[in-house]
């Protein structure tokens, strides 16, 4: 493994690991304070138990998320010093703001987790709300920086150096809004579905337990609503990519030739050598319509660009297909749930629906991981699109396979322990809420 590949692998692994904790850190506090709000409103103990359970989950996940986030902030310099030397002054601002959002999150999480008996119930709920809000804000600042790497703005290049740097314009880059919308919705949808799926699994074995019914209702209220909205934000994002990163869009679709009225491909395997995508179901004119809102719009194919500007097409295309498939499956399950709820209050009595929730549990996180492959691998060979190549940003440090291996083993260990601890929390299904009440 050469050093560039080791550095990229370490960064990818660190991000893939951290993003799970970051996404749950954005959404789980929201579920937690909804449950607590319900407890304060109805005084039904089941909601208090739920809020405390989710708080325990948040505590474990936040600790892992905080330290893996620290690793990432250092890795920017440890692995990509040339990138940070070039871009720090342009795009450091959202990271600095993120520092304060993270501060707020950590402070009020401490207040929330340890303050149940020490402050008024209203202050406690507000502390939870501060955690939920600053968690979402943290994510938005970080994604803003990533969006800048896709659509750099806020500077000019003179003699290979950035001049006329405007950090505000950099933050307002073309991808920032849509990428943030997409990622924030994804965090809520993925977390909502995984929580709903776990409780659906428990409810299938423990049919009368009110605890799991209430949990699913709250988790799906958040996850289902965002899952239904998500395809709309995906559509906006694809149109943005079509305008700003046409080569990336071509890779999404495995579109090699430039054509008018390009088809939308479902599935298929791109063959970079032959320059064709095989075995795909093609919807005529679909891509032109979705990318440009015009059935006969011209879509630039990969062949329009020199080979050394192509991302790895097959990886990007397949990851894109996985992401979209997961997203639509989640939307369908959410719609099914809404339809069942609209028909009767006994919406959680259907075994097939609960089984569908269980099956859909991991889809949100599969979609998030696939989506990050799409956006990160799709940006290659650039670290700053069109400005700096990843190969030119990597540290001169030799032997990078060593830290890559170390951090991979460390994170595997953490993943195993975290899953085990969360299962302990979940498996202790409270018996006292067994009741006929719905």
């Amino acid at each position: 493994m050469d050093d560039l590949l080791a550095a990229r692998s370490q960064m990818a692994m660190s991000l893939a690991f951290h993003i799970i904790f970051a996404a749950i850190g954005i959404a789980l506090p929201l579920l937690m304070i909804i449950a607590e709000g319900q407890w304060l409103r109805t005084k039904k103990e089941v909601y208090l138990t739920l809020a405390k359970r989710w708080a325990n989950g948040t505590a474990i996940l936040f600790a892992v998320g905080a330290v893996s986030g620290t690793v990432l902030s250092f890795e920017l310099g440890l692995l990509w010093p040339a990138f940070m030397g070039y871009a720090g002054a342009i795009i450091g601002m959202p990271f600095s703001l993120e520092g304060f959002a993270f501060f707020t999150e950590a402070i009020f999480l401490g207040v929330y987790l340890y303050g149940w008996e020490r402050i008024s119930s209203r202050a406690h709920l507000l502390a939870g709300a501060a955690v939920a809000a600053s968690g979402a804000l943290s994510g938005i600042f970080v994604v803003t920086a990533n969006a800048w790497m896709n659509t750099p703005a806020g500077f000019r290049i003179v003699d290979g150096r950035p001049v006329d740097i405007d950090p505000i314009a950099a933050m307002m880059n073309p991808a920032a809004f849509t990428q943030n919308l997409h990622m924030t919705l994804a965090a809520y949808a993925a977390t909502g579905f995984v929580v709903a799926g776990i409780h659906a699994f428990m409810l299938l074995r423990d049919r009368s337990n009110l605890f799991h019914r209430r949990a699913i209702a709250i988790a799906l209220a958040v996850g289902g609503l965002t899952a239904i909205l998500q395809p709309l934000s995906g559509d906006r994002l694809a149109k943005m990519v079509a305008r700003n990163q046409p080569v990336k869009l071509a890779a999404f679709e495995g579109q090699f030739a430039t054509v008018q009225g390009a088809p939308l491909r479902i599935g298929g395997i791109p063959d970079e050598r032959a320059g064709v995508t095989r075995y795909a179901i093609e919807i005529p004119y679909g891509l032109s319509f979705f990318a440009y809102g015009d059935f006969h719009a011209t879509v630039k194919g990969l062949k329009e660009f020199s080979r050394d500007e192509w991302p790895p097409v097959a990886i990007v295309h397949v990851a894109f297909q996985i992401m979209v498939a997961c997203g639509f499956a989640m939307m369908a399950v959410a719609a099914w749930g809404a339809w069942r709820l609209g028909r009767s209050g006994a919406w959680l009595d259907s075994k097939p629906f609960l089984r569908a929730l269980v099956a859909a549990a991991p889809l949100g996180f599969v979609a998030i991981e696939a989506g990050w492959v799409v956006t990160e691998v799709g940006r290659q060979p650039w670290i700053i699109y069109g400005v700096m190549r990843t190969a030119d940003a990597v540290t001169p440090m030799p032997g990078l396979v060593a830290p890559f291996t170390t951090f991979t083993l460390l994170y595997l260990f953490l993943a195993v322990i975290t899953v085990w601890l969360l299962l302990r929390q979940v498996a202790a299904s409270p018996r006292k809420f067994k009741s006929a009440e719905r």
Binding site: N56, A59, I60, A63, V64, A66, V67, G69, T70, V71, S73, F74, L76, G77, L78, P81, M84, G85, A87, G88, A89, I90, G92, M93, F95, S96, L97, E98, G99, F100, F102, F103, T104, A106, I107, F108, L109, G110, V111, L113, Y114, G115, R118, I165, D166, P167, I168, T395, P396, M397, P398, P403, T406, F407, L410, L414, I417, L421, R424, Q425
Partner: protein, 341 residues
């Protein structure tokens, strides 16, 4: 040196970096020190000592940890070449420090939420406390290497290699110094975390021992600096502020020990915190105007003015949110021992 340089915006932001680092030492550092005393918990009250440490750092360690993140993000926003050079030359100690940071934080949390059985708790305690010992040493090595003048940079490229800067006696001495410093702070703070006289005595003795060791180490670091960090050594020796600073730091250190001896714990805490603040300020002053001795200066590494102005604005706005929130956190959990009695 121009007088203007003292007043420029980049110097102000470099000052913010030092202040954030001081907060990290005073708060986050003490959390590591708590872990050190977890490792060395002994006697009939070992279990009570560990419980006290866990209760003291539980609600606050994650917030305290963020000071380090703030240092990093401000450094790479305001002084990108310095961040790039440090990340390259000190890749190895920083990567090892990250392993320590990860293991310390997660093991502490896992211990709380795992099965409450003695052997399981013991295993997590061991990971937590060993990581709490190793991490400050690596942090100290990093800071020592930055001060040493052994990181050489030419045209933005690190020319001194990946071992040269930190694999030397001086950075390791600073590492040890940081460890004992954090342990000292933690022991002093812990005397105020309990009303149990016996536990107070346990940590009073630990604080006194660590305080004396710290004095000896300070002398050792100073002597090693002559060859190990000549520019900083000269700065400490020559400058007009040097003598008063030394006297004041020494006075704080002595007062902290005297207050501990007299069991005036609240005053001991004030003196210890002042001592740490002065030590770090002295280092920063001795290194001024360099971020990384001797090739990266504050002015030459600074980002363009607009970036610095916006950053300063963000720091000000952030501070307006941060400090009341921090005060609230500490008021809730440390309220009964925040005041000086």
């Amino acid at each position: 040196m121009e007088t203007m340089q003292f007043l420029s915006i980049e110097v102000v932001i470099a000052g913010v970096l030092v202040v954030a680092l001081i907060f990290y030492a005073l708060l986050g550092g003490a959390d590591y020190g708590g872990g050190v005393w977890d490792l060395f918990a002994c006697g009939t009250r070992a279990r009570e000592q560990r419980t006290l440490i866990a209760e003291a750092i539980g609600p606050v360690w994650e917030a305290n940890h963020v000071w380090l993140i703030l240092v990093i993000v401000v450094l790479f926003t305001a002084f990108p070449p310095a961040f790039a050079a440090i990340g390259t030359a000190l890749h190895i100690p920083l990567a090892l420090m990250l392993v320590g940071i990860v293991l310390r934080g997660t093991a502490f949390t896992f211990r709380k939420y795992d099965v409450q059985r003695d052997d399981v708790r013991h295993r997590w305690s061991l990971v937590f406390s060993i990581a709490s010992v190793i991490t400050p040493v690596l942090l100290g090595i990093t800071l020592g290497a930055i001060a040493s003048g052994r990181i050489r940079v030419r045209d933005g490229v690190v020319t001194s290699g990946f071992f040269e800067a930190w694999l030397a006696p001086f950075p390791f001495a600073v590492g040890l110094f940081a460890l004992v410093l954090f342990a000292f702070l933690a022991a002093v703070y812990l005397t105020l975390e309990t009303r149990d006289r016996d536990l107070q005595e346990d940590f009073r003795r630990r604080a006194l021992a660590a305080g004396v060791a710290l004095g000896a180490l300070a002398l050792g670091v100073f002597l090693l600096a002559k060859n190990g960090a000549p520019a900083v050594y000269a700065g400490i020796g020559r400058s007009f502020w040097a003598l008063p600073l030394h006297v004041f730091t020494g006075a704080c250190a002595t007062s902290a020990l005297i207050c501990l001896w007299l069991r005036r714990y609240a005053w001991a805490r004030v003196c210890a915190a002042a001592q740490v603040t002065l030590i770090l300020s002295g280092w920063a002053l001795a290194q001024f105007p360099y971020l990384v001795q001797p090739d990266i200066a504050i002015a030459s590494a600074a980002a363009p003015r607009l970036t610095l102005e916006l950053l300063l604005g963000a720091l000000t706005a952030g501070a307006i949110v941060l400090f009341p929130s921090l005060y609230y956190l500490f008021w809730i959990f440390k309220g009964r021992n925040l005041s000086i009695r």
